[in-house]
Amino acid sequence: MTTPTPSDVASQADITAEIEAISKEYDAAGVVEDNVRLDYAPYRSSILRHPTKALHQVDPEGIELVAPVFGQRDVDPLEADLTIQHRGEPVGERMVVTGRVTDGEGRPIRHQLVEIWQANAGGRYIHQRDQHPAAIDPNFTGMGRCLTDADGSYEFTTIKPGPYPWRNHHNAWRPAHIHFSLFGTEFTQRLITQMYFPGDPLFALDPIYQSIVDPAARQRLVATYDHDVTRHEWATGYRWDIVLTGSHRTVFEEDEQ
C-alpha cells in the first residue's frame, strides 16, 4: 500500500523522471563523464551547494604533491573489525569487505589510511540526527579504520548495512552502502565515496547513486560478491577495488621503499 505524496514535495515518479531526462541528455551528448556531477538537481541538497564557476586548473605544487602520513600511532588494527567494538555480537549479516587501493597507473597506495562508516543492519546510523525509527544496535557503532598493507590492500569485517529512508523526496530510500574515505600519496588524490552491493533494486531510484550519470562509472562503486573472501561458517565476502587519480610523481620516486 502506498501513502499519497504530499503536494509540497516531489514524488519518486517526479525524481525518477528527472533522473531519466538527464540520462537521455547524457546519452545524446555522447561524451563520457567518469566522475560524479557536482550539479545534479534530483539530489535536492546539491542545488545550493555546487559551484557554478568552472574549476580553476592549476599544476599541483609543494605540499599538494605529498599526502599526510598515518601510521600505527593513528590506527589500532582492531579498528578494522566493526563487529568487536562492543560486548556482544551485532545483529545482521557479518561480512568481510576487502580490496586494493591503487593510483591511476595501478601502483598500490601503501600504508595509507582508509576510513569507513555505515548504518546498521536495520538502516539506522548511530548519528544523533538520524531520525529513522529503526532499532539502534547497542553492539554496533558503524565506524572503522585501517591502514592499507604493502600491496595497497585493505580489509574490514562488518555487518551488511540496511537501506534507509531520507528526505530528498516522498518515500525516498538509499540503497545499502558503506561510506569510504581515502588518501593517496598526494593531497590531490583525496577521495570520499560510497560502496554499494550488487543488484540493489534501489539503484534506479536513488539520486545520489545516479549523480554519476555514466552507467559504467556508477558500476565502479558496486562491490562484487567473492566466495574466496567468504569465510567458512563465519562471514560472507565482498571485494571492491578503488582507483585514485593518477599521481604526479614519477615511478622512480614511487618505487623507493
Binding site: R49, D59, V69, F70, G106, T245
Partner: protein, 167 residues
C-alpha cells in the same frame, strides 16, 4: 593513465559520528606561543551557513618543510603533522589551531566536504600577500590571532575551487 578513477560521492549527512575526532582541529595546542588560528565559515548559494560541512587542512611547517610525521589522529602535543580535520558548527564555522605555513608562496591547502556536495572540493587559502598574480580569488585575511578564510560553495563571490592538471 591506464585506470579510470573511482568516482566520488557525497559525504552525506551522517559523518559526524565517524570522521571528526577529538583534537582533529588542533594541529598544535592553543597554549603554544606560536599557535595561530585559521577559521572561517562555509556558506551555500543562498548565503546561508552550512552546518554539516567538513574541512580538512594540509600545510607546510613554518620553515616551509613538508611534514611527513604520523600522529594526526592521536596527537602527542609536540609533533607537527601538518594535517587536521574539523566539522563546521551550527553557524557554519570551522576552526583550526595550527602554525603559520612557511615557504615561498605559503598557503593552507583545504578540502571541503558537505551534505549536498557530491564530491570534495579543493582550494588554497593563501596568506595575505602570498597569492600569485594569476590567483583569481581572495587570500586569507589576517585577524588578531591568525587568519580568516570563508568558503562560499556557490554564487557571485564563489570560492576558487581547483582541478589539478594531470600530466
Amino acid at each position: 593513465m591506464s585506470l579510470t578513477p573511482t568516482p566520488g560521492q557525497t559525504v552525506g549527512p551522517f559523518f559526524g559520528f565517524a570522521l571528526p575526532y577529538d583534537g582533529g582541529g588542533e594541529l598544535v595546542p592553543h597554549t603554544r606561543p606560536d599557535a595561530i588560528r585559521l577559521h572561517g565559515r562555509v556558506y551555500d548559494g543562498a548565503g546561508d551557513p552550512v552546518p554539516d560541512a567538513l574541512v580538512e587542512v594540509w600545510q607546510a611547517a613554518p620553515d616551509g618543510s613538508v611534514p611527513q610525521e604520523p600522529g594526526s589522529l592521536h596527537r602527542d602535543g609536540y609533533t607537527f603533522t601538518g594535517w587536521g580535520r574539523a566539522a563546521t558548527d551550527r553557524t557554519g564555522r570551522y576552526q583550526f589551531t595550527t602554525l603559520r605555513p612557511g615557504g615561498a608562496s605559503p598557503y593552507f591547502a583545504l578540502t571541503v566536504f558537505a551534505r549536498g556536495l557530491t564530491d570534495r572540493l579543493f582550494t588554497r587559502a593563501y596568506l595575505p600577500g602570498a597569492a600569485p598574480a594569476a590567483w583569481p580569488g581572495p587570500a586569507a585575511q589576517a585577524d588578531d590571532r591568525g587568519f580568516v578564510f570563508d568558503i562560499r560553495l556557490q554564487g557571485e563571490d564563489e570560492t576558487v575551487f581547483l582541478t589539478y592538471a594531470q600530466d
